[in-house]
Symmetry: C2
Subunit: 394 residues, 2 copies
């Protein structure tokens, strides 16, 4: 059930109740603008992934900057997006089962809907649902280009599936999805380049074979925040679907360029705000943010503004700050900002985004006019948005 919001517009950042999900609106807006610019420059369409933010408000901001539509993973996410005013949605995931498919087909009367498929059974189910709803669904064949998750093999198998789609009267073959998720997190530039070169080769081959079979691809899509520049430059992909760039988590920030420097020019724009709720000994502070406030599947959160402080040993409602190597130790009641290791599942824990203007985080400890939290003393709440598709699981 949705909980009350931890803040209201106009409030000072210090008064926001904790734990809370903070969006640095300045950094967030720069991230949106940068991705729109990069996609435009590369000549590819941008279809940001809403599984990261689960918010039609944020999605509409992305579309206002030129995105052609949004991606999501679940029918229930698509429902929230369409009901929030988004007019073009790709469910970038296989949908199995008549109950889900009837909901998907119903959405196709309200917005442009695409979905992916990787099996003949799945296509039969899609076609039947479209027929029941009297709609035509646009369908992409998903190919496995290295992630070894969903998707048929590139080449012959993909052509067989595509022919099946094209042959269904209630479906329209729209192209290929080729997403290599794990490659987003390969740390070296070389590993990412090699992985995506392989994905591009498989995709190019498949598109050519489809063309030989008389099937043109309106859409060739894939790519995420860690590799999108490679897919965008490939000449094969027509659409990229990055999600995390709007917030940037600590994990993506660990990717490196050829010279070993951080590769990403996107800024951290999402934080979990927390409070020191216990400080029983000098070397340890206990924060009020644990597993239920910040996801740790891609590593522990980084700590803003307290150099030497290490977040460790999270339990459900607590995180321990190890302060052994921290010079300016926070005191009981001090606020501490955390950069989540993984934004997507962290966002999914919260009911509200607290949008803050002038947050201006500073990771240098003790900088002038900064408190323990590492943010500007003038930071204030501008907006409180629902995480509208939080918990949209099916």
């Amino acid at each position: 059930m949705p909980q009350r919001a931890p803040a209201r517009p106009g409030m000072s950042m210090d008064d926001v109740d904790t734990p809370a999900l903070i969006v640095d609106l300045d950094a967030f807006e720069r991230n949106l603008e940068q991705m729109a610019r990069l996609a435009r420059r590369a000549g590819v369409r941008l279809r940001p992934h809403a599984k990261t933010h689960k918010s039609p408000i944020i999605g509409l901001k992305q579309m206002a900057l030129g995105a052609v539509g949004l991606c999501c993973q679940k029918v229930s996410e698509a429902e929230v997006l369409v009901h929030g005013g988004v007019t073009d949605v790709l469910v970038s995931n296989e949908v199995i089962g008549a109950r889900k498919l009837d909901r998907l087909a119903a959405l196709a009367r309200q917005a442009t809907i695409m979905v992916v498929a990787d099996s003949e059974v799945g296509i039969d189910q899609l076609a039947a649902a479209a027929q029941r709803a009297d709609v035509r669904l646009r369908v992409l064949v998903e190919i496995n280009v290295g992630a070894d998750r969903c998707g048929v093999a590139p080449g012959t198998d993909a052509v067989r599936i595509a022919m099946k789609i094209a042959g269904a009267p209630t479906l329209e073959f729209a192209g290929v999805q080729a997403y290599y998720g794990t490659a987003q997190h390969f740390r070296t530039a070389d590993a990412r380049r090699t992985a995506i070169a392989g994905a591009v080769q498989s995709t190019r081959l498949t598109v050519q074979m489809l063309s030989d079979a008389g099937l043109g691809c309106d859409v060739v899509c894939g790519a995420g925040t860690g590799t999108f520049e490679l897919e965008a430059a490939s000449g094969v992909y027509t659409e990229i679907q990055p999600g995390s760039y709007c917030f940037m988590d600590a994990d993506y920030a660990r990717n490196r360029a050829d010279d070993g420097s951080p590769v990403s020019t996107f800024e951290h724009a999402l934080f979990v705000h927390s409070t020191v709720m216990s400080a029983p000994v000098a070397e340890r502070a206990i924060l009020d943010a644990g597993h239920k406030a910040v996801a740790i599947d891609s590593g522990m959160p980084d700590v803003v503004g307290l150099s030497g402080a290490v977040y460790e040993r999270p339990s459900d409602e607590h995180g321990t700050l190890n302060l052994v190597d921290c010079e300016m130790r926070p005191r009981l009641g001090d606020k501490v900002l955390l950069i989540p290791g993984h934004c997507d599942p962290t966002v999914n824990l919260h009911d509200w985004y607290v949008g803050v203007r002038g947050l201006n985080v500073n990771r240098v400890q003790g900088a002038k006019s900064y408190g323990a939290g590492g943010y500007s003393a003038r930071a204030s709440v501008e907006s409180v948005w629902p995480v509208a598709a939080r918990g949209a699981l099916f």
Copy 2:
């Protein structure tokens, strides 16, 4: 925002949409009865922890079987419990900050409220909030008995904090909380016995020193599902506060008795129901349940009914079943039940409990009248309860 429920009462288990949080009502009721019996036999009060289930409906069932009240970790959880009819709540956690404390004090007009403290600053804040609300708050001093999280040192420090509580006109000193969380998960009986023996010794010493200082302890509490029989038999603890026993997760089931056998007699009663949404090759099935449906902080979920199948490589919305060693491989569209590694953060991902009667899970593959999901073909939905305090973070 709360999503629509994945089921309605009367529905067959096969028709429940996925992913969904399933309660095996038969096993769950046996777990509640067993813990009530064990506490009664040991002569200790039972105050189950609601951080596991976040549900006043479940809490009231526990109280109907003799529990004296409930524990929770957050003021917002206490609000949900009290608004749901629970009359006695211990916030078993430090509460810092005037906004939270004013809400806590307001609750003390509607129900019996206790809270723990481990600092003089915290006690000053508690006393001030109680004064503003014109209530008296019952307060326990929390001592650190090994977990090295919150809590003052046993002995002298604890007496100093207790005296501070007793000296505040708006507070009432009620006793000691001594909870050793990490010991719950020590795998050998010997390690758990040694850890809790130390906790009992520290607690006994502290209670004696408090008594010498003229402070009697009405409540001496702590203990969780992994060790409660030790604390209950100590003669020092008056209240135990286990949470997980109602559902039992895969992690607790890994605890062993002296002879190496599984120690717990509680049954798995919580499952995540999932569907095979892609099966591109014979050795791999992709489930529709990933990080956003099942928590992995205490290890991967176990798989019901498909011996040899291993859940691995979860991503946000997908889990991969490695089927290399699985004889009866599930097919596209088959349902698969997962036993979460850790119940508490898994429950916190879902808006609804789907209570099923006659689930009768069978972990033996291919048992008569069982489908791929490993549950009885006659299983049907009896109740759909909200996870009312899901997301209650502050």
